[in-house]
Symmetry: C2
DNA sequence: TCAAAAGTGTTACTACTACACCCATGG
DNA sequence: CCATGGGTGTAGTAGTAACACTTTTGA
């Protein structure tokens, strides 16, 4: 380590995680209460500082694991925020990840321990610092990405019905889709396998369960494909 | 500043800039030689550490200005790279920006002073650290973005001809487009104003100059629009 | 038997692709 | 006058949007 490196200013580097879930027909975000003064108790994203010897992705996984108890969840870097006064206490550069989890696999106890709570994306509380912006940007990225990649499935249980999938997309895009066109488009990708089992308890007729076929997806992604309904376009 | 902040690990934070230009029908990247040991003289991106009291965008502008002598150039954050050993000397987190400049407005002296040189994107030299990846990712983002936003214009002089614009898009996408379809699509956006002036010296007939109408663009962007040719799709 | 949600096909329209010839000018 | 690159239109095709009725079954 020489002069060039030694003389440089070293900021704090935080990892903030926008955690999306889908429940009761709504797109939700997992928020938590700040544990430190000042602003103790304010709602915000799951957060943590980068540790020595950790890669960025690893740090994000650690923060996610601590907040949700879950491993191996879908996660992607959004952007890095570094306005000088974004954190009023100290200069903190914040690297934002967004992640998609299956709410049903959530552990209630861990939520309580972390003072964490799910909020509908359309009814967020007042948030600390620039966390509101981070969430809105993540939502935008989710919208755009869901048009080209079947990431929506990350938010649903392993087995899901087409009406559920459609509601999820409607929650993400805040837009209604035509049932027939949606099914046609989704099934045309060949990514879904229909099971012989019907959902019980939701409707009288019962909708067939489907599963997402990861294998087929990998084939398609390498060729490049389009998962988009034109009608989804550009609310983004 | 309290214990929570004080105890945290503080990494170095570098800003690396991928600078794109367009010249002689080729998409190019501005590279520079490393000034410090080790690896002194190795080709790499324009880089600098974040300074105390600077926002990230400001730091990127500073690095760009130093490298090119230019102000107010198109610039966007790509991503942040933080593998533990990406810089073999010290732990450096690297925030990558990519930018688009008009090569003609470049100052030759500054290039020489910085030992900087333009390289065709298809013939890059061996690069230090993970800079090759950063360039490839930036190129991907440029490809994708150029399908939805008319950012290509940032790479051309104020006045340009449609054949020039088409060659630029062909260089970005490494794909040939049909002349008629390209013109139709581009002109249909209503973003270009045809001038009464013809280009001289390139072809005998001479192609009409066009200018990009920023005002109209702002109208369109707020509604959301699609700048894409399907044929551009998914080489990305 | 009826209420409530699931499932299904066709037509019109729009947007993209493919394609070949004439035009203007400088040398 | 001819070689070179600039400019133009149309027909076929594919994909998207719009739209309404039948099916199943639990209460």
């Amino acid at each position: 380590m020489n002069e060039y490196y030694n003389s440089a200013y070293k900021p704090l580097l935080a990892i903030d995680c926008v955690i999306f879930g889908y429940e009761d027909g709504e797109l939700k975000v997992l928020l938590t209460r700040r544990k430190q003064e000042p602003y103790k108790g304010a709602w915000g994203l799951a957060t943590g500082f980068l540790h020595f010897g950790e890669s960025l992705d690893y740090a994000a996984e650690r923060v996610l694991k601590k907040q949700t108890g879950l491993d191996r969840i879908y996660m992607d870097q959004l952007s890095t925020y570094g306005e000088v006064d974004r954190d009023p206490v100290a200069r903190v550069i914040s690297l934002v990840y967004y992640s998609l989890i299956k709410v049903e696999s959530q552990n209630e106890e861990i939520l309580e321990k972390n003072q964490a709570q799910w909020f509908s994306i359309t009814a967020l509380p007042k948030l600390m610092f620039d966390h509101e912006t981070m969430i809105q940007m993540s939502w935008g990225k989710l919208r755009r990405k869901s048009r080209y990649q079947p990431i929506g499935f990350e938010l649903l249980p392993e087995k899901f019905t087409l009406p559920e999938l459609q509601s999820l997309y409607e929650a993400i895009h805040q837009k209604q889709f035509d049932k027939r066109n949606f099914r046609k488009k989704i099934l045309a990708t060949g990514l879904l396998k229909k099971l012989d089992e019907k959902q019980k308890g939701v409707s009288k007729k019962g909708a067939y369960y489907y599963v997402f076929e990861e294998g087929k997806y990998d084939e398609l992604i390498s060729q490049g494909f389009n998962f988009e309904l034109k009608s989804m376009a550009f609310g983004s």
